[in-house]
Symmetry: C2
Amino acid sequence: MKKVTIKDIAKMADVSTTTVSMVINNKANHISQDTIVRVMKVIKDTNYIPNGFARSMVTKKSHLIGLIIPDITNPYFAEMARHIEMEANAKGYNVILCNSDDEIENELKYIRLLKEKNIDGLILVSASLSLHSEVKELEANNIPVVILDRVKQYEKEHIIIFDNRKAGYMATDYLISQGHEHIACLIGPLGNDSTQERLLGHKKALLTHNYRANTERVFEGDYKVEGGYKAMKEILKTDATAVFVFNDYMAIGAYKAIYEANLSVPEDISIIGIDNLYLSSIINPQLTTIEQPAALMGEAAVKMLHQVIKGHDSYDKKACFDPKLIVRDSVKLIRE
Amino acid sequence: MKKVTIKDIAKMADVSTTTVSMVINNKANHISQDTIVRVMKVIKDTNYIPNGFARSMVTKKSHLIGLIIPDITNPYFAEMARHIEMEANAKGYNVILCNSDDEIENELKYIRLLKEKNIDGLILVSASLSLHSEVKELEANNIPVVILDRVKQYEKEHIIIFDNRKAGYMATDYLISQGHEHIACLIGPLGNDSTQERLLGHKKALLTHNYRANTERVFEGDYKVEGGYKAMKEILKTDATAVFVFNDYMAIGAYKAIYEANLSVPEDISIIGIDNLYLSSIINPQLTTIEQPAALMGEAAVKMLHQVIKGHDSYDKKACFDPKLIVRDSVKLIRE
DNA sequence: CTGAAAGCGCTAACAT
DNA sequence: ATGTTAGCGCTTTCAG
């Protein structure tokens, strides 16, 4: 079946391609109603769909945006991606999904591919600051980038962040308010900015309450279930009565370690997480956590990107979302 | 910054665009090493990246494939999507992610958009048979489609399916083998083919063992946590000692209903699921389930699609994956 | 209100 | 071993 082109339509409707083009693109202000109807009919009849390549070639717009994200399998990112896709769609874009596994080589490879695909913009969820120059280059090539989550470069423009330090403070402060004195910390990879920020907040809370902020109680995880599980096994050997797990996904792993040891949350040990995954309210006991609004952040990223693509200039060039304490059942109140 | 084109490269390297084109596309068999090196250098120096539009316009290939999936937030689909993306990438494609929420209007809208984007092929995870004519039309337009999961149209080509009937049989058979006599069924939406097939398998197992296969014990869910939770509350009012939950995601919701009722799995009630999500081995107690290999199925879909795109013809035009019983801790052995 | 024609950046015959 | 050139299908001045 030969593909029908704008020329065919023009011929069949007995008009020029210009006219057809105009009615397709809703620029038919100066075209008679008669002609419009006639052209439309031919388009319907032939099932004509304009060729995006040809179109993009002249307009320089692909209506495609790239999304580089560590791993769609992680519920936090899945939630984010879902809302990014929805918002993008509402704004007329399709999104190209790229799982980087947080490997810089993958990110670089994807950036190259996406550039070749002429994406209109990129949303980057990455822990690698090293990408800085790549981002600069993209922007120089007129491909806007918004960096989402996991950045501390407050000075940069076009970023959507979360106040990780405040989140770290909040979680720790809450644990202390419930009477906990031996608080362990199940952190993410140390090289990660979010980890550093959350840790800073944690220490500040400790110090504020005149606790010692030593490093004996911090255990490194990987922001995944497996890492939470393993680190928790170690923590169980200590005298900690509560643990601040740096994300909910690891907390799920921590739960597993705990009930495998025949212990229970929060009776034997209290847990607080960060993220407020959907799952966090489903597991038993329901997880007390600090909400990080993945959905809103994803939407904000698309909105910002859209503004940049449109060439607007009257919008906030950075957004920072605030943490919120969600009290549920995984932290025990200890009386002194 | 003016975008550098193949012409610029040609001029700078003092060759024709053809030559440049050839070295870019590794078709430089007949080009002197000397020239190649010179051209390459210019390309590196200028950071030249070919314009995908122009290229695609003549080659008719976008190296983009569409993925229409109900909801990336569902761990089963996330797993599938992850592996689809990986395999696609290995084969040189990028994937456009579309969440349909299983709504046919969304699917239709996406199909239209994707057609306009000139995707090389489409992987469709959909429950709507009604899409049949759309698929036919895509294929007529030379855009291959492989339908993944949730189909019963064994007669169609280019499908990747799972033997849902066998899965239904297996789960029920196992429950019976453990001595359960009052088995409830927490099914998915009735309109769904997978649901129907699993139900058929379930009934067959019941009949085979001389049990009565009535409908009093079947409760409809939605394949999501929420539906599992709600339906389980109802099931708890019956005399069922075991429930066959039609997917693991609902089983997670069912668990919640159970411990909210202060009951426990498997002491008070046994649960078996389908899918074998990653989470299924993490929750407490670990879920006994029937494995459905989402990752493998996703990969198989990409491989098949690739074959069709390439115009090959010596490959299996349908693949059916087999269920596998994964025994863990959520089913109690009842002695008679 | 409508049409002619240039050109977007690239590939692939076809020449040489 | 390398160059010339004709499109690919569309949008967009510029004319009328």
